[in-house]
Structure formats: structure tokens, C-alpha cells
Point group: C2
């Protein structure tokens, strides 16, 4: 890379102006934003993105899954696309940075390169993926884009089938055309995503940039322990088959197993329900929602086996039946060498401190990693807060992140 290119940086004031404008769209009373996918405010944010794209003299494109792209075309014919992106949708009553920062930075990178009239052997594409937060279908946009979307997923979407049908209709997306968003791997040079960490590790380390080496895998289960309904006053303690015992024992075991066997991974029992659920009735059913996360495939599989075995053990111990419902998973993903190198070089070029990091939350990059070399850049989340109006990242860190994205993109483009 030339010395001139090494000195390139994004236009800080334009980037800030964009950020401030976008924050106003769907702004909540506090400092948050409420932009669930296809809500009025989300559609307004996308309209704003389109306007900014066209104002910058970039091409604009929408695919069959509603993914919005700004394009800076290469002078080379049939150049592959180097994707930079994230998402403009938010969780209900979410924060200003999650997703939005990555899309804004991607657009700013395209404009900064365009401003300097730099010729690259790739088409630069700033992409805003549809429904990363999964209000309708988790990762709808990036799953369609990478060929991971199936009719089965659409038939049983996270937000319910009715919600999906009504929402697609309202924004004039056709279900059958969602699949047309799929892109050929050979037409892609890679994918880079800037995102806030949403966790406390980076801030605690005092480093400016997180270089994501893995995105953790995530697995969901619904476990139902089944005993027998009895009058709690009349059945003896010895004879009752209390479903709550199995669920409670499993919940405690999860923590013990994690601390002893998988201290760096994550697992959570976040929901439980006893049926019938009255003071004086021994619970017949105790349902729990359980998830676990690991950064590598070996540990991910080992955790799965360990927890299924443990649930069976606890059920047996208390004379209960056990219903195991596997609700889905995303395998852990290792970031590719090329983007990792490009991000490391960018951080060096800019003289920023960094920390190698695992992303414990899911991202579109997880889907993209399957079809092209993908990388992620994290900036610190103050207090690790996310998915809340309190989400905050220092502006200096946002600018640093955008500059790392710029230089990593230049690096990837030249490889």
C-alpha cells in the first residue's frame, strides 16, 4: 500500500453528521432508538440511507430480501464485490450503535475512497442486511444472501408465520423472491463488519480495537421435565413426582458444569414455567429455555453432549420424564486469515491498540463467513451495555473503528 493511501482517513465531520441524523430516526425518549425491521422508523432509516447513497454519487441496489446496498464500482470489469456492512434495524427500544455504526462506517468508507478517486480491483458494496435482530426471521437478509435461508425457516419463523406474511406484504417483498438475494461466492472478495462489542471485555482491557477471531456458536433447547400433578397438601413428600425438582437441579448443574468444565463459555436458563402453576399443586411440568455458546466446534459439541446427558440424569434422579426440544443452533465460526491480516495491518497502520476477541453475540458475519472470507472489527461498549438505550461507545472509538474498516478494506482489496 502506498504511503499516500496509508494516510487516508474517513471524513470525521461528515461521519458525525450522518450519525446524528440517523439517531433522530426512531429516537426514543431516552438516548435510544426503536427501529424493529420494517417498522415505520426502520423504513425511514433505509430511505435516509438511499438518499445519502445517491447524494454521494454511488449506485443504489435492493435485492429480493430487501438488503440495501450502496455501490462504488471498480473500473475493472466483472470485479468481485468486497462487502462492508451491518444492519439498520434495532431491537425494540434498543441503542444507537448496534448495527447502525457498521452501516454508517461502510457508507463513509465508500465515500472517502470515492472522494480520493482511488481505483480498486473490487466493487465496494456498503450493505444493510434485513432483520439482523430477528424480529421476523433471525438473519433474514444475510441468510437469503448466503443461501442459508430455507422454506422450513420461513414456515416456522421466530416471530410467527402471520407476522412474517403480513410484514413482507406491507413492504412489498415476495416470499418466493427472498431466495433471489443469494449471491455467488466467486463474485465476493470478502466481508468486513464494524460493530460495537456489546460486552465488557474490550473496555476492561483498555484497548481501542477488538479483532474478532471467532464468533461463538449458539444452541437453543426447550427442556420439559414431566412428573405428576397432585394436591400438594395431601400427597406425601416421598411419593410426589415433582417436575420442579428436575428443572431446578438442571439449572444448578448448568452453572456448576460451566464453572468447572467450560469456564470461558456461556450458558443460560433464562425462562421457566411450571404447569399448572399453583401454590398447592405439585408441578406436573417444568419447562425451561436453555441456551449455550462456545467459540470452537469441539467445545460446542462437547457442551451439547454434556448438557443433554445431564438433563437425562436429573430427570431420572427425580423419577421424571424428559422432553427435549432442539430449537436450533448456529455453529461457531472462525474468521478467515485474509480479513484477520488486513485488520491487523490496518490497526498497525493507524497505531491503535487492539485485543484479539471472541464475539459472543451473533452477527451477519457468521452467515457471510460460510461463503467468503469474513472479518469483524469491534469497538468498546461502555459498561458492556447493549440492546438498551444505555448502549454507548465513545465517539473517538467509533471514528477509530471506521478508519480500521477503511484500511482493512483497502488491504483486502489489494490482496
Amino acid at each position: 500500500m502506498s504511503e499516500q493511501l496509508k494516510k487516508l482517513s474517513i471524513n470525521k465531520s461528515r461521519f458525525r453528521k450522518d450519525f446524528d441524523e440517523l439517531c433522530k430516526i426512531g429516537r426514543t425518549k431516552q438516548t435510544g432508538v426503536n427501529r424493529p425491521v420494517f417498522s415505520q422508523s426502520h423504513l425511514e432509516a433505509r430511505k435516509w440511507f438511499r438518499k445519502k447513497t445517491l447524494e454521494a454519487g454511488l449506485e443504489f441496489h435492493i435485492d429480493g430480501a430487501g438488503n440495501h446496498s450502496a455501490l462504488l464500482k471498480s473500473h475493472q470489469k466483472d470485479a468481485p464485490a468486497l462487502l462492508l456492512g451491518s444492519h439498520l434495524d434495532s431491537v425494540p427500544d434498543g441503542g444507537r450503535y448496534d448495527g447502525a455504526l457498521g452501516v454508517l462506517a461502510a457508507l463513509e468508507v465508500l465515500r472517502s475512497i470515492s472522494d480520493e478517486d482511488i481505483q480498486l480491483p473490487v466493487n465496494l458494496e456498503a450493505i444493510d442486511f434485513t432483520d439482523e435482530e430477528g424480529t421476523i426471521v433471525s438473519f433474514l437478509g444475510s441468510f437469503a444472501f448466503t443461501g442459508k435461508l430455507t422454506q422450513e425457516i420461513l414456515n416456522n419463523p421466530r416471530g410467527g408465520r402471520k407476522n412474517l406474511v403480513e410484514n413482507l406484504e406491507r413492504v412489498s417483498l415476495k416470499e418466493s423472491e427472498l431466495f433471489s438475494a443469494q449471491r455467488e461466492p466467486k463474485a465476493l472478495a470478502g466481508y468486513l463488519e464494524l460493530h460495537v462489542e456489546q460486552g465488557p471485555y474490550l473496555e476492561k482491557s483498555g484497548q481501542s480495537i477488538g479483532i474478532v477471531e471467532q464468533i461463538a456458536g449458539l444452541s437453543f433447547y426447550r427442556l420439559t421435565f414431566i412428573g405428576r400433578e397432585d394436591h400438594a397438601g395431601t400427597i406425601s413428600m416421598q411419593e410426589r413426582l415433582d417436575a420442579a425438582q428436575g428443572a431446578s437441579a438442571f439449572t444448578l448443574a448448568v452453572r456448576e458444569i460451566m464453572l468447572n468444565k467450560f469456564p470461558d463459555c456461556k450458558a443460560n436458563v433464562g425462562y421457566t414455567k411450571y404447569t399448572p402453576g399453583a401454590f398447592n399443586i405439585v408441578p406436573e411440568k417444568a419447562e425451561i429455555s436453555f441456551e449455550f455458546r462456545a467459540a470452537d466446534m469441539k467445545t460446542f459439541r462437547e457442551m451439547d453432549q454434556t448438557f443433554v446427558k445431564q438433563a437425562k440424569l436429573e430427570a431420572e434422579k427425580y423419577g421424571l420424564e424428559l422432553q427435549i426440544e432442539f430449537l436450533g443452533k448456529r455453529d461457531p465460526v472462525q474468521m478467515a486469515a485474509a480479513p484477520l491480516d488486513a485488520i491487523h495491518e490496518a490497526v498497525d497502520t493507524l497505531g491503535l491498540s487492539y485485543k484479539k476477541i471472541i464475539s459472543w453475540a451473533g452477527h451477519d458475519a457468521q452467515a457471510l463467513a460460510d461463503i467468503c472470507p469474513s472479518g469483524m472489527i469491534f469497538v468498546p461498549s461502555v459498561g458492556g451495555r447493549s440492546h438498551s438505550p444505555e448502549e454507548f461507545t465513545k465517539w473517538e472509538d467509533c471514528v477509530n473503528g471506521a478508519n480500521v474498516l477503511l484500511h482493512a478494506a483497502l488491504g483486502m482489496a489489494s490482496k
Copy 2:
């Protein structure tokens, strides 16, 4: 007691006819009845009771709390009342025997004694207490009757204040006049109640009659363990403050403590709720509904202390706060010597097998025991089933129970 009196028995066919008629009132599709207090079917059952009372030439009386009584007056002036009774209301979709059997048997005892023109030194009063099942206020009728009803109870009734006001208005009962139902202890010779066991002990023992020696005390708590809400994917296992751990540990500890320290008593965690209650959020709050029962005051107090201490221990262990809400209790009650003797003598006279038994469910007799010598007679519940359409007691056992009630009443009257 004269040999002639010893041979007295109730009119089986009349008793059966009554039972069959009453079963039809509020009958559900299965063999159950649906007669929650002040429902149309409950009011119809009470109307039927009044009609039967008057047809038998007995006096009829309603007090300020809506308790319905049939009276067989003594020839002696200012004779005290010997109460025989139970309740005609049912839980929603309940069974045919719970409460109804005791009222029918009481009425039949009065008629059988009246038929023979037997003169007793007590007024016999067959009483149907209002809302034993607590649809509006637990034990409304017997609490008013015994002076245990307070304005505080009426301000925060189990079924909600609106429900109470509307129901009282609908049946033309005045709230201020509920208290007028209170009776003077000196005007009462005692209280006897025939009831189905609602538990499995009597059937298992193969005995015909249960002589209740204690009615277990019952105590209710709502315990809320409070930790911190965090993204389950990003907070480390070591740092999270997971409210579910405290609630689960307590739930397991309850069972262990019961089996080891109080194997003959009862305790139940019947309901739980995690807040916010999502797969990927560490539970901030874990609320549980907890009740325990003991047959004697010493154990009752010891259990209370043990469980409160245990809840605090578990909260501390997992770094949680603990909110303890005491929701009320009914102290255990020892049945009095006079009715116990009278029931024993009655069982002997009739040559029936019996078992001394604890009532683990609550009854109006618990309130009555505070102001007059009270006793309870149990008959076996097949499979221990109750509060359900499957509730069943063999007809022979019902007749035996009614005859024990008759002879115990004669015994009490002559003491």
C-alpha cells in the same frame, strides 16, 4: 346412650335420593359439578337445601354472611347449638363429594333424629358455610361465624376486591353485615363435619372411617431472588448474578429438608417466574410461590424458621438479594377431646374400622375449633383424587360416614 338409640341409623334411600338430586345442580359433562360460591348453580343448590329443610319441618335460617342453616330445636329453652355442617360451594369444575357430602349428611341426621322424635338438650343445626373454597374470600362464612373475619381480609380478598363487592351486591349481602354472623362460643355445644379425605391415606389403609386428630397448619410465602439482568452471551459465567440459581437451589433444598427433617409434613414450590424471562437474558428476578404444612404448632414454627433461613442462605450463596413476602397462614388445629371421644364411640357402636388421621387440607372446622369443641370424620377418597370431576367415594362409605356423624352427634349432645 340407650340400646334403642344405638340402633338408630340414617334413612339410606332418602340420603341417596338427596345426593342424586344435588349432583344434578351445576353438573358438568363428566361426573363433576361446577358450583363456585354465588354462581347460579351454587344459589340453586342453596335454594334446594332450603326447600328440603322446610319440607322436613325444620326451621330455616340465613345469617349475615349467607351461611344457610336447618334447625332442629331442642325442647330445652336456651339450649346451645350443636353444629353439623360443611359447604355446598365447589371449586370450578370440582367433584360431587367435597363439601356437599357433609351438608347432605348433616341434614339427614337432623331428619333421622326428628323422625324418631328424639329429644336432645341441644339445638341441632345443619349448616352450609359460605365460600369454603375461597372463590371470593377463603372461609368467608366460617370466619364471619367465628369472629375471625377482619376488614383487612375484606380489603384484600383472595379473589380481588372488585370480585367481592360485585358478588356481595349480586346476592344482596351487605359487607358491614357480614360481621353480624358471629356467634357466641357459649351458645355452641360443638361442631362436627363429615368430609371426604381428599388424600390417599385412608384408602391405602383399607379402613372405613378417618378420625381426624389434627388439621394441618398452612403457611404461604412469595420469595423473590434478585440478581442482575445481563446479556447471557456476553457476561462471563463468573460475573453474572443469576436469580434463577437462588430459586432453583431453594426449590431443591425444600425437598431435601422435608425428606430429612420433616418427612411426614408437606411443602411445595408450585409456581415460579423469571424476569425478564428470555433465552438470552440472565434472569434478574426469580419469584417462587411456596407453601408448607405441619400438623402441630411446634413443627409448624420450626419449618417456618428453617425455610426462611434456607432462603437467605441460598440468596447469599449466589450473591442475590431476597424479598420475602409472607402471604398468610392458618395455624394447625388439634381436634378437641369431646368430639374425638364421641366419634370413637360412634365408630365402635357401628362396628366400623377406623384410622386416626391428619387433615392436610383446610376445612371450616379449623375456624370452628377456635370457639367450640370441633371434630371431623373422613371417608376414603378413591385414588386420593379431589377438586376434580374424578373425585369419588364409594356410596357405602358415604352412608357409613353419615351414620358416624349421627351417632357422634347423639354422643356430643348427651355429654
